[in-house]
C-alpha cells in the first residue's frame, strides 16, 4: 500500500477526538475524493496524510514509509514528494505569483538555487506553464494580494503542480472558484494524476464534483469513515445521511439542488 492508515486516531489535548480509529488503504495512482460535512475531520485526515499532524494512536504509512519513525532528513525528503493544496493558500500577501509558484520546488532545490531564485526567478517558463493550466498565466508577475480569492486558490494549485509530487493532497481547492472553472480545475488535477501516475486525494465540499471525477469516494463523518465506495454504489440516501446534521441539502459547486439524472439510475463517474 502506498498510503495506509491502521486504526489511526488523533486526539487533541482537550480530549476531543478528531479522527477515531480510522483504517484505510490507498494504492499508488489511485484517485480518491473525501466528502463530508464541515467539522467531520476531512482536513484533519488530509493533514495526517501530509505529515503535518502526528497520530495519537495507530500506524500511518505514507509513500511506503512511516514518517514519524524517519530521521529528519528522511522526513524532509518524504515531504518533498507530498504536495498539499490548502484551502486558504498560505502565501505572504506581498509575494509575487511567480515566486509563490516556484516555491513548490524548494524541497528539491539545493540551497543556492533557492536563494538565487529569490533575487531573480530562475524558471519563469515553468511557472508560466502551470499558471496557464490554471488559466491565470497573465498574473505571472502580479503580487498575490492583488488577486481574488479564487485566483489565489489557483496559484496554490499551480504551486503543487510545479512541485510534481508523488502524492497530491488537496483541501477544498476550489471552494472560492466559480462552478465552470472549478470543474476544469478538478479535471486538470485528475489529468495530472493519471498522466504522471501519482496518487491524488482530494477533499471536496461539492459532492457533484466528487462523484463526477473520482472513481473512489470516501465519506467522512464525526471523525470516522461512513462509506468508502465507487460513485455507482453511493445512494442518495447515504449522501443525505452523511450531511444530515449540517443542512437540508447535499452541497454542490453551483448550489443547485443535487439530483440524480434519472430516478433509480445511479451515477456514472468520468473515466479517461
Amino acid at each position: 500500500m502506498k498510503l495506509d492508515l491502521e486504526r489511526v486516531s488523533l486526539e487533541y489535548p482537550n480530549g476531543v477526538r478528531a479522527i477515531n480509529q480510522v483504517s484505510c488503504g490507498i494504492d499508488r495512482s489511485e484517485r480518491v475524493a473525501i466528502i463530508g460535512p464541515s467539522g467531520a475531520g476531512k482536513t484533519t485526515l488530509l493533514r495526517l496524510l501530509a505529515t503535518a499532524l502526528r497520530p495519537t494512536a495507530g500506524t500511518l504509512t505514507v509513500l511506503g514509509a512511516d514518517p514519524w519513525r524517519a530521521s529528519r532528513g528522511e522526513l524532509r525528503r518524504l515531504r518533498g514528494r507530498i504536495g498539499m493544496v490548502h484551502q486558504a493558500p498560505p502565501i505572504p500577501p506581498r509575494q509575487r505569483v511567480v515566486t509563490a509558484v516556484l516555491a513548490g520546488r524548494l524541497g528539491q532545490w539545493p540551497a543556492w538555487r533557492s536563494l538565487a531564485s529569490l533575487v531573480y526567478p530562475l524558471d519563469m517558463p515553468g511557472a508560466e506553464r502551470m499558471l496557464a493550466r490554471m488559466e491565470i498565466a497573465d498574473k505571472l508577475f502580479e503580487r498575490c494580494d492583488q488577486l481574488s480569492g479564487g485566483q489565489l486558490q489557483r496559484v496554490g494549485v499551480a504551486r503543487v503542480l510545479y512541485q510534481q509530487p508523488d502524492l497530491i493532497l488537496t483541501d477544498e481547492p476550489v471552494s472560492a472558484v466559480d462552478p465552470a472553472l472549478s470543474d476544469r480545475i478538478i479535471g486538470e488535477l485528475n489529468r495530472e494524476a493519471i498522466e504522471r501516475g501519482v496518487t491524488l486525494v482530494a477533499s471536496l465540499h461539492a459532492v457533484d464534483l466528487a462523484l463526477h471525477w473520482f472513481p473512489r469516494v470516501i465519506g467522512v463523518k464525526g471523525g470516522e469513515i461512513a462509506f468508502d465506495l465507487p460513485p455507482v454504489r453511493i445512494s442518495d440516501a447515504m449522501l443525505r445521511e452523511l450531511y444530515a446534521s449540517e443542512m437540508a441539502q447535499v452541497p454542490t459547486q453551483d448550489y443547485q439542488p443535487f439530483e440524480t439524472m434519472v430516478p433509480g439510475v445511479r451515477r456514472k463517474p468520468v473515466y479517461f
Binding site: 531573480y120 526567478p121 519563469m124 517558463p125 506553464r129 496557464a132 493550466r133 508577475f141
Partner: protein, 278 residues
C-alpha cells in the same frame, strides 16, 4: 497538454527597478564609509587589542568602595534635583507662554477688548521663541550655559528649563486648545480676563493631561540630566565623564548600573504619579 514554449523567456519586470535601487543605495552609502573613517580594524588590530583587552577587563569587577559609592549616591541625588528643578523652571516658563498662545483664551478672536493688541502682537513671537528653545538640542544649551554660568548643576537646570520650557509650552497650548473651549469662551465673552477664564474654564478639564505630560517630561529630564553631565552640567554624567578620563572601567560600570537603575526608578515613579493623578 502540448504547449509551444515561448520563443523568448519572459523577463522579470521587477528586476531592473530593483537593480537600480540597489545600485543607488550602495552609491549613496559608499562615500559614507570614508567620511566616517570606517575602520573596524582599529578595534581589533594587534596592538590596540592588547590595550583594549586590558581596558575591557578593568570594567569588572565593579568599583564598590564605600567612598566611591557615597560619591555616586550624592551624584544621583544631584541628578534627580537637576531634573526636578529644571522641570519646575520649564513649567514656570511654559505656563505664561501657553496662556498667551492658546487660541481658546484668545480675546482677540472674539473681538476687540482689553488686551486685544497685546495678544495679537505677542502670539507670533511667543510661538517662535518656544520653537527656538526646543529646536536646539538640550545638550547644546548645556554647553552654552556651562560657558556662561560655569561648570555644575546650575547649567543643567537652566538648559532643561529652556528646552523643556519650549516643549511644555507647545504641548500645554495644544492640550488647552484640544479641550472643550466653550466654558472659557463664555467667560471671556462676559468680560472676564484671560487668567480668570483659564482657571475657571479650562483648568479643571485639562489638568490630568497637563500633569501626565509634565510627569513624562520629568522622566525624560532625568535621562537628559545624566547626559548633560557629560559636558559639565553636574550629576551622574559628570562623574561618569571623570571616570572615563581616568580610564577607570570599574567606576564606569558602577555608574552605568546606577544609571540603569535610576532610569527604571524614574519610569516607575512616573507611572505611579500618572495613575494617581489621572
Amino acid at each position: 497538454m502540448a504547449h509551444a514554449d515561448s520563443a523568448l523567456q519572459p523577463r522579470d519586470p521587477a528586476a531592473l527597478p530593483r537593480l537600480a535601487l540597489t545600485v543607488l543605495v550602495l552609491a549613496l552609502l559608499w562615500p559614507g564609509f570614508s567620511l566616517t573613517e570606517f575602520d573596524p580594524a582599529v578595534l581589533i588590530d594587534g596592538r590596540s587589542r592588547e590595550t583594549m583587552g586590558k581596558f575591557v577587563s578593568t570594567f569588572f569587577p565593579l568599583e564598590t568602595s564605600p567612598g566611591f559609592l557615597q560619591l555616586v549616591a550624592r551624584s544621583t541625588l544631584e541628578t534627580l534635583a537637576i531634573a526636578t528643578a529644571g522641570t519646575v523652571l520649564a513649567m514656570l516658563l511654559a505656563a505664561p507662554f501657553a496662556l498667551v498662545i492658546t487660541r481658546s483664551l484668545s480675546i482677540s478672536r472674539i473681538g476687540p477688548g482689553p488686551g486685544y493688541w497685546l495678544g495679537r502682537i505677542l502670539r507670533l513671537p511667543a510661538r517662535f521663541a518656544m520653537m527656538f528653545f526646543r529646536s536646539i538640542p538640550e545638550i547644546v544649551w548645556a554647553l552654552l550655559f556651562v560657558r556662561a554660568v560655569g561648570l555644575g548643576p546650575a547649567a543643567g537646570v537652566l538648559a532643561i528649563g529652556v528646552t523643556y520650557g519650549g516643549m511644555l509650552g507647545k504641548v500645554y497650548s495644544e492640550i488647552l486648545e484640544s479641550n472643550d473651549a466653550r466654558p472659557a469662551a463664555a467667560l471671556l465673552e462676559t468680560g472676564s480676563g484671560r487668567t480668570a477664564a483659564f482657571f475657571y474654564g479650562l483648568w479643571p478639564v485639562a489638568l490630568p493631561e497637563l500633569v501626565s505630560y509634565t510627569v513624562y517630561r520629568w522622566e525624560c529630564a532625568v535621562r537628559a540630566s545624566v547626559i548633560m553631565g557629560f559636558v559639565g552640567a553636574g550629576g551622574l554624567g559628570l562623574q561618569m565623564e571623570l571616570s572615563m578620563r581616568m580610564l577607570n572601567g570599574g567606576e564606569i560600570s558602577t555608574i552605568l548600573l546606577v544609571f540603569l537603575l535610576l532610569v527604571m526608578l524614574a519610569d516607575a515613579v512616573s507611572a505611579i504619579l500618572r495613575k494617581v493623578t489621572a
